[in-house]
Amino acid sequence: MFKKKNQMKTREAASLTPRRRFLNMLWWLLGGLALAELIGLVIAFIKPGKAMQPLEGYGGLITCGQAADFPAGTVTAFQRGHFYLSRLENGGFLALSRKCTHLGCTVIWDEEKSRFECPCHASAFNLMGDVISKPAPRALDYYAVNIENSVVTVDTGKKMKRQRFSADQVTAI
């Protein structure tokens, strides 16, 4: 049975006219196009950040309050925005993501030891977000801070990655 099929195939192939071959190629092309459309359709549906996203507050602009309300050397948590507002000793502001850079757990500010600690696998970070204890590989991500008329706002729309702290990440009054 198989033999017969094969014989037929070869006979067919030999007698394919250029027009036939062209039409066959067209079929493949159309099939490929249909497949591409299907894939595009699926991607449109699974694309991250669809309309249902912004968790309330997070992902947008968050108003933190008067700059004077944050003493130097303190950290204030903004649950709604998933970040910590860090006021450095020199008076500058830094908005740190609460997500540990190791595997993404939520870090906690330890007032006494004056450092961020990750409960999952014991990473620790200082006031600036720099790693002081492994396994976290790099400093905490941060968000842009804006101060206008001495009101502090944080844009949680885009998170910025960094290896370590440097002075240009800080917003001064």
Partner: protein, 462 residues
Amino acid sequence: MKSKITPSVAGPLFKRIGQSVRRGSNRAGTSGDPGKYLPKTMLFHFRPRRVPEEAVRFTHTWGLGGMAFVLIMLLFGTGLLLKLVYKPFPDMAYDSILMIQHEIRFGLWVRNVHHWSANILVIILFLHMQRVFFTGGFHHPRQFNWVIGMVLFLLILASNFTGYLLPWDQLAYWAITISTGMLDYVPFLGGWLQAVIRGGTEIGPASLLLFFAVHTAVLPAGICMVGLFHFWRVRKAGGVVVPLVPDEEEAERRRTPVFPDLLLRELVVALVVVAFVLIFSALINAPLDMKANPGLSPNPAKAPWFFIGLQELLLHVHPVFSVLVIPVLLSGGLLLVPYINYASNRGGIWFYSENGRRMGIYAVAAAVLFTAAGILGDAFFFDFTTALPMLPPVVGSGLLPVIIFTGAAAVFLMALKRRFSADSNEAVQSLYIFLMVMYVVLTITCLWFRGTDMALAWPWGK
């Protein structure tokens, strides 16, 4: 030629309907009781009439593939029931699980059956894979069925993974957070892949809806299709692998009828598996932690147990190696198992040969020793992640320890090969054993021997 058609019966309606269902036989040679025709012919589309005697012996396959099938059926059944009540939204999911457990009669039990079947299935599949490997069931003509099997395994792992998030408790939330967090370490594609899987930057409503859809529709459909393909290839290869005999003796091979010899055995295995899972689920509840709280991480946070070996690896070697290079090389190697050039294609014999069996014992011992030494050495003697600050981390904590470890393993395996003057089948088998045992040791270490802060600890300590 005129085909012989069974005359339609006159008589009461239900009898005529029954007759039409059974259809009766219109082929020569299948006459007889028409009532048996339908089930029998359907059956023999999946099964031959007779199979070699060795094939029905329980210890030849341990019935593991069949057990997997039974568990999948249990999963489909209980999963459909759960789906009638479960709500895939963060503010409702946990409560709907509580409702299943407390307000629906037998709800707790149904959830337990689903949970335990899923977990047992992963173990059974792992064992099935070992059975196929060690009886040489992957040689020609079964090469591609090994690949199909790997795809099935992957689909089942994906099902377990997506299902893990659905209860939306602390366990679920953080296990999925850190396993998807590992993708951050994959260069280039990782971040994008993570965003797609999470449906955003964090585990949230989009992730839950996506996981739910994939868990309850995409994967079950995939498992059905690929599963049928798997069975069909088993049938096409002439059933499970049995020792080859010379062609002229093939006709004299002792054969035994599938019905009842094989089917009854399968029925017994199926019933035992079902009974075991049902009783186990009546006695032991599936875990359910507090409702997920994205602001509060637990200590320690562990990945789901079937991925936990990777988390252990991540503690020791650079992420590029532990979440990319090593997993890709290992799974690629597993896929290629059937396509290596072997000295012999002999299958159907456990562990290939007496030589292979003895080498295997050494390989197990060495894998346990080497892996334990690596883990303990890293913890107490020499920490590659901090000891060599002058080297870039990819080299100092990645390439270097990997080379040292694989070098030691390679020297050992070469020595083993020479000592037993092994052929390539035996050598590949020893390597395979070494790698499998290594992953098992990594899994057990992270699962039971890591406590607060992921420090090494005894499982019975607190």
